[in-house]
Symmetry: C2
Subunit: 248 residues, 2 copies
Amino acid sequence: MIESVFNHRSIRQYKNQKIDDKSLDLILKAASRASTTGNMQVYSVVVTQDEAIKEQLWEAHFKQDMVKQAPVVLTFVADFNRFNKWCQQRKAKPGYDNFLSFYTASIDALLAAQNAALQAEDLGLGICYLGTTTYMAKKIIDTLNLPKGVVPVTTIVVGHPSESPNLTDRLPIEGIVHYETYKDYSEEDIDRIYAEKENLDSTKSLLEENQKETLAQIFTDNRYKKEDNIVFSNMLLEVLKEQDYMNQ
Amino acid sequence: MIESVFNHRSIRQYKNQKIDDKSLDLILKAASRASTTGNMQVYSVVVTQDEAIKEQLWEAHFKQDMVKQAPVVLTFVADFNRFNKWCQQRKAKPGYDNFLSFYTASIDALLAAQNAALQAEDLGLGICYLGTTTYMAKKIIDTLNLPKGVVPVTTIVVGHPSESPNLTDRLPIEGIVHYETYKDYSEEDIDRIYAEKENLDSTKSLLEENQKETLAQIFTDNRYKKEDNIVFSNMLLEVLKEQDYMNQ
């Protein structure tokens, strides 16, 4: 049983303490051992520790304080740029400027990110994924000087935790697993699967705070709104075009 | 140091031996502990062990024998279907039928997949990722009865290894890591980064076998061809439309 898998908590408060180079190297090495499509390694990791650049990343990531607090920000990027350059120097014509290639490179980047996250936690460090990476891809591209063929996919902040939150609730396993084929959910299934989450004390106080009738409304009306999703979808698709991944 | 991170090999040959239920449950539990966007868990895992359904998946995955040989096939799917149903039952209007939501759900599915893969390896089992999942998404949707809002993202086969391959080569860490911001690669950088890979004995025999001048040509001309990428890009984008993820 891998301890850092089962003990994972997202950490959003960090001590003012650097990560030693040996730990950082091990985290990056862990990333590099992840499965990768055809062993092409079509991703890169940008390690940002400089305060001024972190400040710009903080702006991009909706000014979430953990981006400034954590000593290290790791941006995982889908990257066919290096591979394309290699092909061009070796009398080979790359054909990786399309959506499939972008998605393939995203998969590579995400498996590497999860290896890095777990290895960091195994060292006693804390991490948190930043979903804002895809919303604000354009600003991150500008901040990190990402050339064509490179798109930010996810970010983790890494540092020494200064909080120790409880394990987060998850849906019961039966709620996310299907045997043999997908069995669609009945009304009763949905009620059963979400019951525990809906009955948490934290859910009750959330409803009160936000003056909402159901937890689902907090997601649809406050946290992940349709109008924002549409704006960010179009921005992300525009970024894919600009970064030369939509020629199919 | 997480052993299964650093000892990972893709396993393509499996013993004719089932995985016990306790191990399978632990693997699925590991998946469920991965970071997930806003704790929405917008993914599912389809566990296929039935021979007839595995045979159809084998067809989808370019008839790679490991799909039949391995006792368990885990298909990780981006899944807003469950969440949407929950919203609708709770007087909330979901706005997750767009590209950003698909990509968000893909991230969830991939982090869960990597947790499952590492936990399986920690139990002494072997795994292999199947990149064919996105190429053949439509056929997998049909085989696994995936409703709208559900798209296959990746697959791992899991079983008892009957081979023990060497660790696969990787680019040197400096080849995939950038400090502070992205430093684009010079010709000399590319030569240096790819030197080890290009000088492997396995590369030399591959060139001879395929009658190619450079390793890069084996990727562009044989393994990941532009014309195939274009076909699969269009198929995947079509799938996203059909599964109701392209309304932005």
